[in-house]
């Protein structure tokens, strides 16, 4: 079932040549560098947990985890070389996750005026 009229109307927005295009092959070195970075990241996570950054412990731990995750997404999952649509899907997923967690935790942390005890009433010095 080939297209009837080979009019030039045949414009898909992602203009790629026909036939199985050769996928982008990531060099070995990149993979091993990323792997190394991830192992260092794991060590850092353990090390950071031992330190006492006060309230920033969670922020540091999550920061390391997010960088590791970004490395995996960009290089192992090829998002760095993927079409913009795939990158958009990743962004939307992360945004909605943030909306879910942020939206609900916000309720626990906004003040209550009915005088009832809630986490929001705890004023951190």
């Amino acid at each position: 079932m080939t297209a009837t009229t080979e009019t030039d109307v045949h414009e898909h927005e992602h203009g790629h040549e026909h036939g199985g295009r050769h996928p982008h092959v990531v060099p070995l070195l990149t993979y091993f560098l990323v792997f190394g970075a991830l192992m260092v990241g794991t060590y850092l996570t353990v090390w950071a947990a031992g330190q006492d950054f006060g309230r920033f412990n969670t922020v540091v731990a999550l920061g390391i985890a997010v960088t590791k995750a970004t490395l995996v997404v960009l290089f192992f999952m090829h998002v760095k070389y993927s079409p913009r649509l795939t990158q958009l899907v990743v962004a939307v997923a992360v945004a909605f996750l943030a909306l879910l967690i942020g939206g609900v935790v916000n309720d626990y942390y906004s003040p209550r005026l009915d005088g009832q005890m809630g986490p929001a009433n705890i004023r951190r010095e």
């Binding site: 109307v9 909306l99 309720d107 942390y109 003040p111 809630g118």
Partner: protein, 547 residues
């Protein structure tokens, strides 16, 4: 979207033309089909069965509420009735109805594709849906579940001894059917549009389903994991919502409504897509404000995720969060209002023919407007404190779901029935049914607004005497509505056998799906169509001559 002289339709359609219905026979040809059109018929049969099952529960509820004392059923039975009415109607009829039946059938046709992106996944979605339905039927047969369709802990986790696990697993499984259908639609709409079919030439039906699919893919997993946590708490005592351990039942409500509010947009957006198609066709005019309506669909899908907190106003949510959710709920009402204004403007200076689909569309406009406006009442945090969990809210969401989604579904079913079945349904009977549905619906649910503000709470097996008259009116309306819903089943079945054979384009509509013969051939388009026109191009008068 028409090509000039279309070579698509063989001149004289011979009687024994093969199409997707008679391409092959036998049960396996249906149960193992990957043709999106046959899968749509499978869904049509399944959800119609679930609709009448849910409807029977509704009839039982209305019968019970004729008398103030709960004397028809025991309270346990009544609690199971309204719970199962909710579960069956929401998860097994309203959410799949338009996307799985009309969406599955029409999206490939409307974008000029041969099938959805993942046909096997489409069939798998139907099996997952049926498998989930079986779980819920098992729960219903084995004593039912009495937690309300909302499964609020700690009642659902530690106090109810009914089939909560089976019903929960049923919903958990069926949710994946919804996710995979949404995934299928998004990929199809992105990757398989006909040449020349740019995003702003797409029919608004496709836009509505694209927005709905976003909600399905991003929202449904949240309720899946929530029901999973309730199931884990009931079976393995993983006490996540258990107040005795310091767990917080309000956290469940956040998680549940994070999906369940966008779910009401899953129900209404496809109906809006149908209305856009029907109103333009029967006014024979370009849609008024195409880009605005398409943008409104997307805005509703995205804003829909920001407003779930209005279900928690009296539930101990923090004061400021409540006020913020009230504000956001008002912002999400604006796109719906814009759409109604645009549809009305489309009818201006049109050439309007009041066939059945248009009757349903006009009914939708009336009822959805009332539903949307009463949404302003329940979004007002001050008023909602009074009307929350009363019959005012019940009336509000029935106006949206029954007055909006089901009217849209029936309108769409009538509009595309010739294309689906290759037969014309009896016009007179269909118009009678539409009027009965409209009258029965209003008599059923309008009194409930008054009952609600009087303070009659939801889910009450017995109520105080002063509410009886309005309840009797509502039950009377329900019987009329029931008749109105039974009629289509008969004359649609009748038309399969005795209906006049349908031409390719009985309504003279634009759209690629009307350029294939009725019913379409298995591969939809003998020749890949190329789109040169804008959406709803009625003025040029070049649509295909009616065969």
């Amino acid at each position: 979207m028409t090509t000039t002289t279309s070579p698509l339709i063989p001149a004289a359609a011979p009687r024994q033309r093969t199409h997707y219905l008679n391409a092959n026979y036998g049960v396996l040809s249906w149960l193992l089909t990957t043709d999106h059109k046959r899968i749509a018929i499978l869904y049509l049969v399944t959800i119609s069965a679930m609709f009448f099952l849910g409807g029977s529960f509704a009839v039982a509820i209305r019968l019970e509420l004729v008398t103030p004392a709960g004397d028809l059923f025991q309270s346990e039975t009544y609690n199971k009735l309204f719970t199962m009415h909710g579960i069956v109607m929401v998860f097994f009829f309203l959410i799949p109805s338009i996307p799985a039946v009309l969406g599955n059938f029409l999206i490939p046709l409307m974008i000029g594709a041969r099938d959805l992106a993942f046909p096997k996944l489409n069939l798998a979605s139907w099996y997952i849906f049926v498998f989930g339905a079986l779980f819920s039927l098992y729960a219903i047969v084995n004593g039912g579940v009495d937690t309300g369709w909302t499964f609020y802990p700690p009642y659902s986790t530690s106090f109810s001894n009914t089939q909560v696990l089976a019903a929960g697993l049923g919903i958990f499984i069926t949710g994946f059917s919804s996710i995979l259908t949404g995934l299928n639609f998004i990929v199809t709409i992105h990757k398989m549009r006909a040449p020349g079919l740019t995003w702003f030439r797409l029919p608004l039906f496709v836009w509505a389903h694209y927005a709905t699919s976003l909600i399905m893919v991003l929202g449904t997993p949240v309720i899946a994991v929530t029901i999973l946590m309730v199931a884990l708490e009931r079976t393995l005592h993983l006490g996540i919502f258990d107040p005795a351990l310091g767990g917080d039942p309000v956290l469940f409500q956040h998680l549940f409504w994070f999906y369940s509010h966008p779910a009401v947009y899953i129900m209404i957006l496809p109906a809006m897509g149908v209305i856009s198609e029907v109103v333009t066709c029967f006014s024979r005019k370009r849609i008024f404000g195409y880009e605005v309506i398409a943008a409104s669909s997307m805005a509703i899908a995205i804003f829909g995720f920001l407003v779930w907190g209005h279900h928690l106003f009296p539930a101990g949510q923090s004061t400021y969060a409540g006020v913020v959710f009230s504000l956001l709920s008002y912002l999400v009402a604006i796109p719906s209002a814009i759409k109604v204004f645009n549809w009305t403007a489309t009818m201006y200076k049109g050439s309007i023919k009041l066939d059945t689909p248009m009757l349903y569309a006009i009914g939708f406009l009336g009822l959805f407007t009332i539903g949307g406006l009463t949404g302003l009442f329940v979004a007002a945090v001050g008023v909602d404190i009074h009307v929350h969990d009363t019959y005012f809210v019940v009336a509000h969401f029935h106006y949206i779901m029954v007055g909006g989604a089901i009217m849209g579904y029936l309108g769409g079913l009538h509009f595309w029935w010739p294309k689906i079945s290759g037969r014309l349904y009896p016009e007179m009977w269909a118009r009678v049914a539409a009027v009965i549905v409209f009258v029965g619906f209003n008599l059923t649910f309008f009194p409930q607004f008054i009952l609600g503000y009087l303070g009659m709470p939801r889910r009450y097996h017995a109520y105080t005497e002063e509410f009886q008259v309005l309840n009797v009116m509502s039950s009377a309306g329900a019987s009329i509505l029931g008749v109105g819903y039974l009629l289509p089943m008969f004359y649609f079945a009748w038309s399969m056998r005795y209906g006049a054979p349908a031409p390719a384009n009985p309504w003279g509509a634009t759209g690629l799906e009307w350029q294939t013969p009725s019913p379409p051939v298995t591969e939809n388009f003998p020749v890949q169509p190329v789109v040169v026109d804008e959406a709803y191009e009625y003025a040029k008068g070049r649509e295909v001559t009616v065969v």
